[in-house]
Amino acid sequence: MSGAPWLSLTVWAPIAGLAILLLLTPLTGRRGRTEDLDPEPPPHRGVLVAGPTARVLLWRWGTLAVTLATFGISLGVLAGFEGGEAGFQLVERAQWVESPNLQYLLGVDGISLFMVLLTTFLMPVSVLASWRQHERVPAFMASLLILETAMLGTFVALDLLLFFIFFEGMLFPMYLLIGIWGYEQRIYAAVKFFIYTMAGSALLLAAILFLYFRSGAELGGGTFDLMALQGMEVAVVTGRWLFLAFLLAFAVKVPLFPLHTWLPDAHTEAPTAGSVLLAGVLLKIGAYGLIRFNLGLFPEASRYFREMVLVLAVIGIVYGGVVALIQRDVKRLVAYSSVSHLGFVVLGIFAGSVQGMSGGVIQMVNHGLTTGALFLLVGMLYERTHTRDLDRLGGLAKQAPVFAGVFLVVALSSLALPGLNGFVGEFLILLGSFFTARPYAVVAALGLVLSAIYLLWAYQRMMHGEERPELDGFRDLSGREYAVLAPVVALIVAIGVYPKPFLDRIEPSAERQARVVQVVEPPGPAARGGG
């Protein structure tokens, strides 16, 4: 294990960068007027306006630099991580508050490792995708940076209260991102997002405090330390209630049917960067929480409620797919496809087999990349056409063949075409659950069919179909947009073709977690998926 505290460095790098940017801001002179008050006229009219002020440039480039640096630092976590081990690594522990015994306790295992990397990877992409954000740029970038620290902290905190602090810390910056820089219904969507999440997490705090209290009696000294709490016996009924409290918080985030109704609004109204991070990272925190805390702390209750969660997951898969079919708004379509895909993740997590769990974890990464890319593309589309209405789009492939091509690749990844990343995850999930939760796997397979229908149909309507004269002059990808999409697409292909390096690191941890809900011994050797 290397000596540097890689996790702390990664988590706090965005905040440190934010502090530097704040200090540099006065050097850019007085508050400019353009950045604050005069949104640039829509670019597609080709009107030239005065260039951005020094302050805006500082924050754009500065934030990009900070997020890239954070990504670089997070590679240190990857380098320091020993594959093939199931436990937590790179653990950092310090006492923060004596009473109550709150520790600054960080660590990663194979599951959270990739969540951290996914987050640091998607951040610079989101920043770059927000290059055309002209409204209150410094505040926008600051929200992104605070959000990044909170998200990263959530994935690596191993102290329950510390986790909760980061978990709640994500709420406000994301709320601002949606509410200030979102589209027409932004305030409604932002408040809905806030209230749902807050309501979900309220009981989580109560449950965490209850665990602390129990640990005082059971372990001789209260603690929020996840690893210590895992060894604690909790009465059956108590454990089930606590499980439900945790489940509520994470089911809202995932989101699990029927708590998903905030998602289409929030995803649709959020600015592109917000949508990418919501879909790419925030939803994963729900799934991650299920693995880490629900399975980790309450094995008995996890088995007891397994069927219920599986039913909800499968309903989500089918329901999300069906509702996506009837959307006219592309962004809403992608949002509902998220409900469906996250249903797959939960199915994998609760299937009770190593393949299911590994598939669930890698599908979390995949979904972050794929759906992130879809939101990026939809954002680019909207910037050009100012519509996301499928009925008003058509024939774009002729105007912008590269754009259409990238969209096709990403859509194919989302519908799990072999050779692309989506296949690896969904195949493993279905394989894993086929032996241990067969009826659910069979229904879930329907979700694959549905996703093929709605994605290809949407592609066909947008890119081919009738050409629209008002869409003439639709530009193809610009250099910056290449830079945004290229790394994401590269990873989509890379994971699809050669998932082994990822699975090698995920599997040991996944195996440990999967045993918790293992009710049926899956036959045969552990199969490896891949194209």
């Binding site: 810390g169 509410g179 200030i180 408040v191």
Partner: protein
């Protein structure tokens, strides 16, 4: 033959009160002989007196004399010192806030009354006898009645003063009746004497229960717990905002200081019987305060209801009645004082001359007009809502944890649900200030001094949220009641 010994007069432990009262009288005198209408020198004198009182209070931290002085009237424990410091700080911030409108026609009596009230509060925190509790409550209330009505040009201010006076007098009657019954039950008014009589079962328990109930009602009025909160919104709205800030923080801190002391010492032996009542009081206060706040359109009323709800959260710590509960409630009070003072400070700055702009609409687009002000408002709101990394979050965790420890997990569930309700109206104000367009885009004029006061409150809110151990270490010894 028993010889009557006059109690030894030791005044050092009440030196802070003496300084504050002396300064108040000096201000009254100076004001009478002053020709200039500039109130700033008087404000500075008040600040100096508060600082001196705080210094002498700090000196009492390591007091090793008797645990009570003046014949058992005044306690000398660190608990009292701690609360005194909090109250003095609240008063100092209120003085700073009041310097926003230096040229209005309130005279020097404003600062004198503020200091008298402060003295009453700080005496309340150290009273070890129910008679002193009553006296100090009267000192603080009488001064506040006048302060609330000190905006002569606003009718609402007069109305609020009248309401506050009537209901305040009513509540004092409850308290006094409770004191009388306590004396009847135990033959003493000293807190430790009552506790001794009740523990030894030499007192009349039935009468003592009635006394406990009446005392609780009296305190519940002062700290604005539901269903004794009716006066709060009208009074908080009508009073000049600097006074609202002062009383919302100061009265609550002092009231809880006394309630905690009375409940855990004098009424300690009957705590078991009192707990269900306090439990209901806490639950009702949290829920009703939060629910009623949702419908408010006036920001002062909104914070008034929010302050009601917060009394409920502090009561959770009181209900827990263990060491964590007491220190949790103390932490909560400090955090609450910082954030409510800051919030009302911003209300005052936004309201401007004549206090007209206090509706939600006045906050539209605040973030564009005065970004720093909006950011601090957001910080206070997040803290009031109990979100990390603010003092309000740590405070809630502490009282909830104490309640879970004491077995009141149902109360914690009520509490977290109330938090969700409350979050709705806090973020509504954030929506207005960050996401709506302002009517005019000019920056809001901010005088530097009140700005500093709000800034200090904001810094405290953030520091206590990130480094809570700074205060928790102090509380370790301050939360032990001894006399």
């Amino acid at each position: 033959m028993a010889e009557r010994v006059a109690p030894e007069i030791v005044l050092r432990p009440i030196l802070p009160e003496i300084i504050v009262a002396g300064a108040a009288m000096a201000i009254l005198l100076l004001d009478a002989f002053r020709s200039s209408r500039d109130r700033r020198p008087l404000a500075l004198l008040a600040l100096a007196a508060l600082a001196a009182a705080a210094a002498s209070a700090i000196g009492l931290w390591s007091w090793d004399g008797a645990s009570t002085i003046l014949g058992g009237m005044v306690a000398t424990d660190r608990y009292g010192v701690f609360f005194r410091l909090v109250i003095l700080a609240v008063a100092a911030l209120a003085v700073l806030l009041s310097m926003l409108d230096v040229d209005d026609d309130r005279g020097g009596e404003f600062y004198a009354l503020l200091l008298f009230s402060t003295m009453g509060m700080s005496l309340l925190a150290v009273s070890a006898d129910l008679i002193v509790v009553f006296l100090s409550l009267e000192i603080l209330s009488l001064s506040l009645y006048v302060l609330v009505g000190s905006s002569p040009r606003r009718l609402a201010s007069q109305e609020a003063a009248m309401k506050y006076f009537l209901l305040g007098a009513f509540s004092t009657a409850f308290l006094l009746y409770g004191i009388a019954l306590a004396y009847g039950a135990t033959g003493t008014t000293s807190l430790s004497g009552i506790a001794g009589a009740l523990a030894g079962e030499t007192g009349d328990l039935g009468l003592a229960m009635a006394a406990a109930a009446l005392l609780t009602v009296g305190f519940a009025f002062k700290v604005a717990a539901v269903p004794f909160h009716m006066w709060t919104p009208d009074v908080y709205q009508g009073a000049p905002t600097a006074v609202t800030a002062f009383m919302s923080a100061g009265t609550k801190v002092a009231g809880f200081a006394a309630l905690l002391r009375v409940a855990s010492s004098a009424l300690g032996p009957v705590a078991w019987d009192l707990t269900p009542a306090l439990w209901a009081l806490a639950a009702l206060t949290m829920v009703v305060g939060s629910v009623l706040a949702i419908a408010q359109q006036d920001v002062k009323r909104l914070f008034a209801y929010s302050s009601v709800a917060h009394a409920g959260f502090v009561l959770v710590g009181v209900v827990a009645a263990n060491q964590q509960g007491i220190s949790g409630a103390m932490f909560y009070l400090v955090a609450y004082a910082a954030m409510i003072l800051g919030a009302f400070g911003i209300v005052m700055i936004v309201a401007g001359r004549g206090e007209e702009r206090t509706t939600m609409a006045a906050y539209a687009g605040l973030a564009r007009r005065s970004p720093l002000l909006a950011a601090m408002l957001a910080l206070f709101l997040l803290s009031l809502a109990g979100l990390p990394p603010t003092a309000g979050f740590i405070a809630k965790v502490l009282v909830f944890q104490a309640a879970v420890e004491a077995g009141h997990w149902a109360l914690v569930v009520v509490g977290v649900l109330a938090t969700v309700i409350a979050a709705y109206f806090y973020i509504r104000l954030i929506v207005v200030s960050y996401m709506e367009e302002p009517e005019d885009r000019g920056a809001i004029p901010t005088a530097p001094v009140p700005g500093v006061a709000v800034g200090l409150a904001a810094a405290l809110t953030l520091v206590l949220g990130v480094l809570p151990f700074l205060l928790l270490d102090v509380l370790e010894s301050a939360s032990i009641l001894r006399f």
